[in-house]
């Protein structure tokens, strides 16, 4: 959908050609799609409205009106603005001396607090700290045992007191306080520098449990309080985040289950309503699946545009630059063959486990989904594409346009695939080729960058959220702006 967002802007602006200049009104209209996209991503309505207004102002200021490529410029403004809103980035865990630094985790039921405690302990250990866990969730059956297991798995000491667990149907309000206190003493005694308190999940409107949290807060005065929020949360993200923040004065947010296909609007909403930084993203069930937050990839994800920027960056390291240069030369001449397509695909394969790439670049996520529906995964799907390619003869590879129905049948038989898959494959190639042609006029550097994005956009390849792709810089998108500047000068 990255392409479609550009397309959508383009079509709004294109309809104007002949009719005259782009006005503020047109820009406003073009933002309608963005508004829907954000609402579909579960961003809070007020945040959406404010955001759209801000973009319009920016766009007018940046003279999208005069720009030669208004659609691209709009995409960039939207993207940058989203990234801005999610910043400033601060993934630091602040510690005090003498220790222990007390970190308290809180959140709704089922948001992932306990697992996140384990992940954080592991993360801090890797940073050279000596963390300790404390089981202050005395409500949910077996919560103490769950944390104990995680403590074993991460080889971190734990303070837990099973005798304090709330009897069925009761709230262990005072007990939570005494466990937390005892845990702090224990951590001090053991010389642990960080203590992580796991607390019971609770609804923000549950007065009794919210008061319990407040009691704990007053008793042990945690140095940092993090709200753990499910990234699949809908509009309620705002309510909860706000309520917890008002009651406890949060220090940061941790969004869990980001390895799902959620668009993740909850992140933006919670960030906006609390003004507190997003510290980490939970990106898997394993304890090492905790990522420091970087907004760049998330912005495109919320928009449904895919993490193009991150991909370009990552691609930079792994792509065979020589091959890319050759490809660029070919494009210069307007040639882009099936061979190039296949070799490009091979390159993308290098970017990492393909099966995990669902849902980040929607254009390709469709393909990935299709692949998954067939039950073969993206790798398998690419394998089939390879088989189709292998089953074609030289002439056909050179001139794919010549592949008619009988040839298609033959190729399908040879490759062991359905006939329509051959058609799909060729269509995909065709699309890439026309995109290649479209970018033919750019300077080489930006073209190469763009091409990588496009290619991967076709193939469903994108890093799993949480690989280093989310950590990349934004430099890829400086390009279009510079280009516009140059054009303006001319």
């Amino acid at each position: 959908m990255f392409d479609t967002l550009t397309d959508k802007f383009s079509s709004v602006f294109r309809n104007l050609s002949g009719k005259g200049r782009i006005s503020e009104e047109n820009i406003r209209e073009s933002m309608r799609e963005v508004r829907v996209a954000l609402l579909e991503a579960d961003v809070n309505l007020k945040v959406v409205n404010d955001f759209c207004e801000q973009v319009v102002q920016k766009a007018v200021g940046q003279e999208v009106i005069k720009s030669l490529q208004p659609a691209q410029l709009m995409v960039k403004i939207v993207n940058d603005e989203l990234v801005n809103l999610m910043g400033p980035v601060d993934t630091q865990i602040y510690t005090v001396t003498p220790g222990p630094t007390v970190i308290m985790m809180c959140g709704l039921q089922g948001s992932g607090k306990t697992t996140t405690c384990g992940k954080l302990a592991l993360y801090l250990k890797a940073k050279g700290h000596n963390p300790m866990l404390a089981a202050v969730d005395l409500q949910r059956p077996a919560a103490v045992q769950q944390l104990r297991t995680l403590a074993e798995q991460t080889d971190v000491p734990i303070y837990a007191d099973d005798t304090k667990v709330a009897p069925h149907g009761e709230v262990a309000r005072g007990a939570a306080v005494s466990v937390a206190r005892a845990a702090v003493n224990k951590a001090r005694e053991l010389g642990r520098d960080i203590l992580i308190l796991d607390t019971a999940g609770r609804l923000a409107i549950d007065q009794e449990l919210m008061d319990e949290l407040k009691d704990v807060n007053e008793a042990v005065k945690p140095h940092q309080i993090f709200l753990v929020l499910d990234s699949m949360t809908g509009q309620d993200a705002v309510n909860s985040a706000k309520a917890f923040n008002e009651k406890l004065e949060l220090d940061g947010l941790i969004l869990t289950k980001f390895d799902s296909d959620t668009r993740g609007g909850a992140l933006l909403s919670a960030k906006m309503v609390t003004g507190k930084p997003v510290k980490f993203l939970g990106v898997g069930e394993k304890l090492d699946r905790l990522e420091e937050f970087r907004p760049e990839g998330v912005a495109s994800r919320i928009l449904g545009m895919g993490d193009i920027v991150g991909l370009v960056e990552a691609a930079h390291d792994k792509f065979d630059m020589e091959q890319q240069t050759k490809l660029a030369e070919k494009m210069e001449k307007g040639e882009f063959t099936l061979d190039d397509f296949m070799s490009q695909m091979g390159q993308i394969k290098k970017l990492g486990p393909m099966g995990k790439v669902l849902g980040m670049i929607p254009g390709m996520s469709e393909l990935a989904k299709q692949a998954n529906m067939n039950g073969e995964g993206v790798e398998g799907h690419m394998g089939r594409m390879q088989a189709i390619y292998n089953s074609m003869n030289r002439r056909e590879r050179k001139k794919p346009d010549m592949v008619d129905a009988p040839r298609r049948r033959r190729i399908a038989r040879g490759a062991g695939v359905e006939v329509n898959e051959v058609g799909q494959f060729l269509k995909q190639f065709d699309m890439s080729r026309s995109m290649m042609r479209a970018v033919g006029g750019m300077n080489m550097f930006s073209r190469m960058k763009m091409m990588k994005g496009l290619m991967s956009g076709d193939l469903g390849a994108i890093a799993q959220p949480g690989t280093n792709m989310l950590r990349t810089k934004r430099s890829g998108w400086q390009e279009p702006k510079d280009r516009n500047k140059k054009k303006k000068k001319r």
Binding site: G110, R140, Q145, T233, G234
Partner: protein, 312 residues
């Protein structure tokens, strides 16, 4: 089975609590006598979006009101409310919303959902309902062998409720647990087996396949089983719930939804989109953390509760 007479009151209480705390009650919209105007339409949009009803649904509703208003067919908020209700109430799957029992032998209910949705607690609620209100003998199966202490969690519930449990060690094969539970239920003449499963994201192919395998094993042990596959959705989930429902549906043929955590500030409006796209009946709602906090779902009541009307 008329065990759900109190549902409307409870739901209303929950919604009222929400309204008091956050002042986001949809009911405040439809003040009698209020005239429809653009501000009114904007407010509807806001409130319904905030109920997670999804842009598409909200646009349909607003479109319908606007059309009728422009044509002069309706003028005030009360009439608009009728339009809204009509739209919200149409096309609910007519299917039986209570549990489909196996007439010959144990009924198997498989419970699935994403991590933390509320599966295990919902199982406790279902077990309680079936045992204490429907008088069935119930067995639970600790099919979540993955998450730390998941087996212990279900064990505690089984003890509290006095129902049997079949369990293996953590890390074991969940399909084997389901197998054993089915066999044990047959041998002991148990009425209902409820199978817990590990939480899994609907996007994790290998885990979804694992779920399929559990289902297959169950279907081979007992005729027509699983008789129910309940997908537990967290009411706080946004539009992603549609994806969840889609994938679980495709993978294990979900027969009904349980919407958990409806006692919070979330309205669970996403079930409207799920209804439109997938036609899966919502069978139960969860309204708290105790085994009593369960009610059957009824669209009429749900919508009425949203509007604060009495059900006839």
């Amino acid at each position: 089975m008329g065990f759900f007479s109190k549902s409307i009151d409870r739901l209303k209480t929950a919604l009222k609590k929400t309204a008091e705390v956050l002042n986001t009650d949809v009911r405040t919209l439809f003040v009698p006598g209020r005239q429809i105007d653009d501000a009114f339409l904007d407010e509807i949009e806001e409130k319904f979006i905030r109920a997670d009803m999804g842009v598409k649904n909200v646009q349909i509703i607003i479109g319908a009101i606007r059309d009728r208003w422009r044509l002069g067919k309706i003028r005030n908020a009360d009439e608009a409310k009728d339009v809204v209700k009509e739209i919200m109430l149409r096309d609910w799957p007519a299917e039986e919303r209570e549990i489909r029992f196996n007439p010959n032998g144990p009924t198997v209910i498989m419970v699935a959902g994403v991590n933390g949705a509320g599966k295990t607690t919902s199982i406790a609620k279902l077990a309680n309902l079936l045992k204490n209100r429907a008088g069935k003998s119930v067995m639970v199966a600790a099919g979540d062998t993955f998450r730390a202490a998941a087996v212990e969690q279900l064990t505690i519930w089984s003890e509290r409720l006095g129902v049997e449990i079949v369990k293996h060690k953590q890390g074991g094969d969940p399909a084997a647990v389901a197998y054993d539970a089915c066999e044990a239920a047959k041998a002991r003449g148990i009425d209902v087996v409820i199978v817990d499963t590990a939480g899994r994201l609907h996007t994790q192919q290998h885990l979804m396949r694992e779920l399929q395998k559990i289902r297959e094993v169950i279907s081979k042990r007992i005729d027509g089983a699983p008789h129910e596959v309940i997908l537990v959705l967290d009411a706080t989930t946004g539009q992603n719930a549609v994806n969840q429902a889609k994938n679980f549906m495709q993978c294990v043929q979900v027969t009904g939804l349980m919407l958990a955590k409806l006692d919070g500030t979330a309205k669970g409006g996403v079930i409207l989109s799920i209804k439109d796209e997938l036609n899966i009946p919502v069978k139960f709602i969860g309204l708290g953390e105790t085994p009593e906090d369960i009610e059957t779902f009824d669209p009429q009541r749900f919508v009425d509760a949203l509007f604060g009307d009495e059900t006839a």
